[in-house]
Amino acid sequence: MKKRLRVRDIGKRSDQLVEITPEDLLPLPDLSNQSDRETPIPQLTEDQKRQYEASLDGVVAIGIQKPKNEKEEEEFVEKFLSGLKKLLSKDDNWTFLQPLMHSLEYCARCQICNEVCPIYLASGKQEIYRPTFRSEVLRRIVRKYLKKQGKFRSKFTGNDIELNSRTIGRLAELAYRCTLCRRCAQVCPMGVDNGLISHEIRKLFSQELGIAPKELHELGTVQQLEVGSSTGITPKALENIIDFMQEEIQEKTGREIEIPVDRERADILFLQNAGEFISWPENTEAFAIIFDTLGINWTLSSELVGYDAVNYGVWYDDVQLARIAIRQAEVARKLKVKRISVGECGHAHKALLVVADRVLTGDLNIPRESAIPILEDAVCHGKIRLDPRRNDFPVTLHDPCNLVRMSGIVEPQRRILRKICPQFREMEPHGVENYCCGGGSGLAIMSSMNFQAWKETISGRMKLKQILEAFQDVLDPATHKYVCAPCSNCKGQIRDLLNSHGAWDKYGILYGGLVELIVNAMVDLEKPFIEWEWR
């Protein structure tokens, strides 16, 4: 039996705090034709281990350079403490001070939150992934090094922790072993939010030490603000993509549909996750077909940031969050649209509708909504002619955490699926009690070194289990099955999960968005819209 790790071990001198073996992992459903044999997460090279902080679990999400000497280590610790002070200040962290202080001060250490954390469970209950572990590390550092409790009080209240570069580096990595799904917060009777604590640790590193995963910051928010999109799509490239999508719509449907760009005074500025343009253009095409059928006066924007709904700032940096939300609202103001509608992107819903709601003031406070109720209205009130028999294959729904638990949009997508998919079945649990896809809070787009393998093996494991269980009665690959995931990041993670476990070849499980299913059921279209090929 493994020795239980203590919170104080976070600062311990060791090459790696935990080693996760395939035997530790949560078993997947025992399927008759399962040929899965778990492979361990690949080891880093010696050079990588020497260079980067990887001593938590042998996985690297951020790539923090290790301090080269004592002076660098001291600076690292000092900067961390300086950031921690700012995290607890009402000037620097007015954005989350009240929720943070509550979560730091009132945990009853009852541990009931752990049993709902998909990462903790999937990993075979590794101590470091326990939601309360990282929170307790931060609490102890605050009490010992900021509140400077005396020796007796420190011992009495259990502040046994040593602050060094290992503690800090591991804590930073640990903040990216949580998807901020907030299932733990949902069950806490005290209202303590361990997901928020992960979020705040990430902020401290980004806003004070300038440390963040490259995919989120440099290739994410910075690129979005400078180039226009986190995908790297420039306004010029967008033109080409739109031409391509219009041509493809014509090829698939025979219809000539214009995708409007920069149409002033439109009713809707449609904000789509630009990842869809590159990886799943059929999603935007489907929206265009539906909007055209409904006669909606809508537009895309070609302005920087205005054509990408994403806002990675919501996961790690309040300044970047506010910058992007403000820029998106400015684009809408300039176009004089009546409202902004967000497409199938969970975190964009949370960022623009919920979190950044208290950043947009004055004439930037333009009505913002989800596109899903528009779809529900169209489908459930007969505004589009649909034939559910066209979708007569097993369909299950993945609930993006940011859409359901964080934005409260739960039923419209279900009403649509019940109407147009005769073989719709729920995953268990679902709705606001759903499990994260494992790619939440930016993890879906992070893939440095061996992090991709960690996501596929651990953070997404519970979702894979749910998907397989939802289709357990129809696993024959000849029966095509569809995981509906109305969120770009979730789709990316589910794609990688299914791919890494060969679910398309073995079980015939494909994934896609919600609008594709609606268009697939449209009686006016001659050919099916969904193409049953792996993508």
Partner: protein, 330 residues
Amino acid sequence: MSSILTIMTYFSYIFIVTLYAVKVVRIARMPVHLRWELYPVLHETERKYGGSYYEDLEWWKRNRQKGRVRGILFLLKDNFSMGEYFHRNRAYWLVLLPWHIGFIFIIVFHVFCFFGALAMVLGLAVSPESSSALGRFLYFSVLVTGGISFITGTFGSVGMAIKRLSDEELRTYASPQNYFNYLFTLVIFLSGLYAWYFVDPTLSEYRQFWRGLITLKPMSVETAAAFHILAFALFLIYLPFTRSIHYITKFFAYLWIRWDDRPNVPGSKIERMVEKCLNQPVSWSAPHIQSGNKWAEVVSKMPTANQKEPKGNEEEIKGKGYRQTERPTG
């Protein structure tokens, strides 16, 4: 001795009320925060599955469901049921609930002692034979609440200590203070139980003591009851240094954070509070933040291309997830 008990009791009540008030004011005066609600929110009574007003078309044109009474009632009720623990860790619940019931009832017991004493000062007989219904009610209320508190509290204190020691998961995260708290509460509840059973079966000593507090004429009480009163006064002084105020802060956590879905309506109080916060200075030091400026200035400026970006691994990034199945774009 009776004077010391009187002074200690007065001091302990003033102390705890003052410190709790300071804590509450400190929380209430924290700046408005960004929205961070978690669904379901309780006031969405027609969407108990966890829906929000964002499920409506053009939600900003409709009336929102709001109201805090339902939430407050739910939280009050939960203090007596602790439903989440019941569902998720029944063994823990079996000791946690009695422990907390002990706290709730000891407070109610003292409130009834106060009113019982007040009634006596006003000339009302507080006894089972009292001609006044109020007098009989106060007599039995003191007896029942005191009894429940001492029994459940004693059981809970012992049970909590055993549970935390025997469960490795709980023990790993426990501090010496946890065990000290169990011991301290055991002393209080057990001393109350002892005094009740062996010395003061009608709990009249406490009413007498409270009568002395009200009339400022300290009354002497039996040693066992005096010990309980002293221990309880010390406990009240100790409480503000623990997490005990979670009974109150829990309400804020739910009402002001978890269920706070109030939209930032143009011209609203929230908008004014946000504007105030945006005028505060920023001192974060990362290169992409223009430290020293106001929030509003920092977030409305685009970062310049030549600034140093946060450190990340340089060569190891394979590329963003989106691009793994890149398609032709034209």
